[in-house]
């Protein structure tokens, strides 16, 4: 890979747990982090981001790795430095090898051996039977600004979606107040809106906040709501070249008492 910088910032965006499950597939790399049984975050790096990418098809490359250590290693020459990256992994139980070389200095290189563990099973939050009931495409910076404005002390975020005006309203309940943000579909930040039936969903605000780091890196965010209330956020990363990277968050809703 020409530069490990974007990868590193993507990892930092989902770094809310110590360990991530690292999975290499023919299409690309995927790193997944889970918070409790409620949030699952993944970083996708499609294979075309790498100048060379090989995965043996007969083996499942999947292991657990410390995401903090991986991020530090990728950043070993500092965030100002673009460094080329090579990654190797032999087989189960062997460490993940990284070789980094900064682009501006030639007499130095770093090699890292990061120990790996057998991966725990990941949650499969997707439910094939639950259909998508609403889809929303927003500009990421604007959505981030909106989340930043939300009262910090609140626990619960309520989302009301409806085909009628105001389309999207975000409600938070604090100690003494109730605050509400309406986003009509004509708003600049809404790029697309589809919703047939009005729905109301509640989420832990703390869970929603986990996506903020990733939002800061992204240009566009797609929110998909399925009929069982599961929220899927897909974020497209901002990058200089044409290659794309993504992150994805599944967030489980709160049930009514």
């Amino acid at each position: 890979m020409e530069s490990g910088k974007t990868l590193c910032s993507l990892l930092k965006a989902i770094q809310f747990q110590e360990c991530a499950v690292f999975c290499a597939m023919p299409e690309g790399l995927k790193l997944t982090v889970e918070e409790g049984k409620c949030v699952q975050a993944s970083a996708y790096i499609p294979a075309d981001n790498f100048t060379e990418y090989h995965v043996r098809d007969e083996v499942d490359v999947m292991f657990k790795i410390s995401i903090a250590v991986l991020a530090e290693c990728l950043n070993i020459f500092g965030s100002g430095e673009e460094s080329s990256l090579k990654m190797y992994y032999r087989c189960e139980g062997s460490p993940l090898l990284l070789v980094l070389q900064p682009q501006s200095v030639h007499n130095v290189m770093t090699d890292c051996e990061i120990s790996t563990q057998t991966a725990d099973s990941l949650l499969d939050l997707r439910d094939e039977d639950a259909e998508e009931v609403a889809k929303l495409i927003l500009k990421a910076p604007a959505f981030l600004g909106l989340l930043v404005d939300l009262e910090r002390s609140c626990d619960v975020l309520e989302l009301n979606l409806s085909p009628e005006h105001p389309n999207v309203s975000i409600v938070t309940y604090g100690m003494q107040d109730r605050s509400c943000i309406d986003v009509p579909k004509s708003s600049d930040m809404v790029q697309s809106f589809s919703c047939e039936e009005p729905i109301t969903l509640k989420y832990q605000l703390h869970h929603i906040r986990l996506i903020m780091k990733a939002l800061a890196l992204s240009t566009k965010v797609v929110l998909r709501f399925s009929s069982n209330g599961l929220l899927l956020l897909q974020l497209k990363l901002e990058k200089e070249d044409q290659k794309q990277m993504f992150s994805e968050f599944y967030i489980v809703p709160l049930l009514d008492d």
């Binding site: 530090e72 200095v105 890292c112 120990s115």
Partner: protein
């Protein structure tokens, strides 16, 4: 005892300010030794009583001061040793970067003080402002002068030039988040390796093509700690394990404009980092090795 010195050139004043700032980052307390030709900053280890200094900085006075008067206690003891809280000294000197002149003298107020008179240009008028700082000092009694002698170090096994400090420090700081100590390995072929090893990861940053000043090999490796590397003659490799935090602290000295930095290693015992500037300032830092 009498001391009076004046600095009028902007270059040296900036340099002096940088040196003192760096020293204040490396230590809580420091000793300033004034002698006829040189002034010295000496730092002993904070928490372990009278030990040999861990930092030794010598500054030739003639390069910095336009006037320099020093009278010691008597003819036998011409020097003056003053103890300071490093930060107290560094903070007023920060303003030197834009100052016109600096006068330093030893005064007796409620306690002995080093008085700094800094003349600052005014942005609105041609007149200047005079700012006076009195920095409380402890006059170090003669009987403990011997604690502040230049450390006698064994002859290093290797002296190798270091790559740019900033680069090195970024790497060390990343490593520091993962492990508390770093193994420095230098070879007579001009290779320098910094390595950490933890349960989670083994990370090595390797530099090559560095200039080797002296090599006093061969080195004896008698234990298992040094792992053998392919194609490398172990008798030409020198190793020392040091505290990552101390190493990183010294590397923050990169704000002093230097012309070269030499890292000397006494195999498994000591790392000496020595920074030299164009004005012949020499800053040395001694980091003892950690042996398991």
């Amino acid at each position: 005892m009498k001391f009076r010195a004046v600095m009028i050139d902007t270059g040296p004043m900036r340099e002096f300010s940088n040196i003192v700032t760096t020293i204040s980052k490396l230590s809580k307390e420091c000793v300033l030794r004034l002698s006829t030709d040189q002034i010295y900053f000496i730092v002993s280890d904070d928490n372990s009583g009278p030990t040999p200094p861990i930092l030794w900085c010598e500054i030739p006075q003639s390069m910095f001061f336009s006037e320099y008067q020093l009278i010691g206690v008597d003819d036998e003891h011409k020097d003056i040793y003053l103890g300071f809280i490093s930060a107290n000294l560094a903070r007023p000197l920060v303003t030197l970067k834009s100052a016109k002149t600096l006068k330093m003298k030893l005064t007796k107020k409620q306690c002995p003080c080093l008085t700094l008179e800094i003349e600052m240009p005014s942005s609105t008028s041609p007149q200047t402002r005079h700012v006076t700082h009195d920095i409380p000092a402890i006059v170090v009694p003669r009987k403990i002068w011997s604690d502040f002698q230049e450390p006698q170090v064994p002859k290093p096994d290797i002296s190798i030039e270091l790559p740019p400090l900033k680069q090195l420090r970024t790497s060390i700081d990343r490593m520091r988040t993962m492990a508390s100590d770093v193994v420095i390995r230098a070879s007579a072929e001009g290779r320098l390796t910094l390595q950490i090893k933890t349960d989670m990861a083994k990370v090595s940053t390797r530099y090559k093509g560095l200039r080797v000043d002296t090599f006093e090999g061969p080195i004896e490796h008698s234990d298992s700690e040094t792992e053998s590397q392919i194609n490398e003659d172990l008798s030409r490799v020198c190793v020392c394990r040091v505290d990552a935090k101390k190493l990183s602290m010294f590397l923050s000295a990169d704000q002093i404009s230097h012309n070269r930095i030499i890292c000397s290693i006494v195999h498994k015992r000591l790392v000496i980092l020595c920074l030299q500037t164009d004005e012949n300032v020499k800053l040395q830092c001694f980091i003892t090795g950690i042996v398991y």
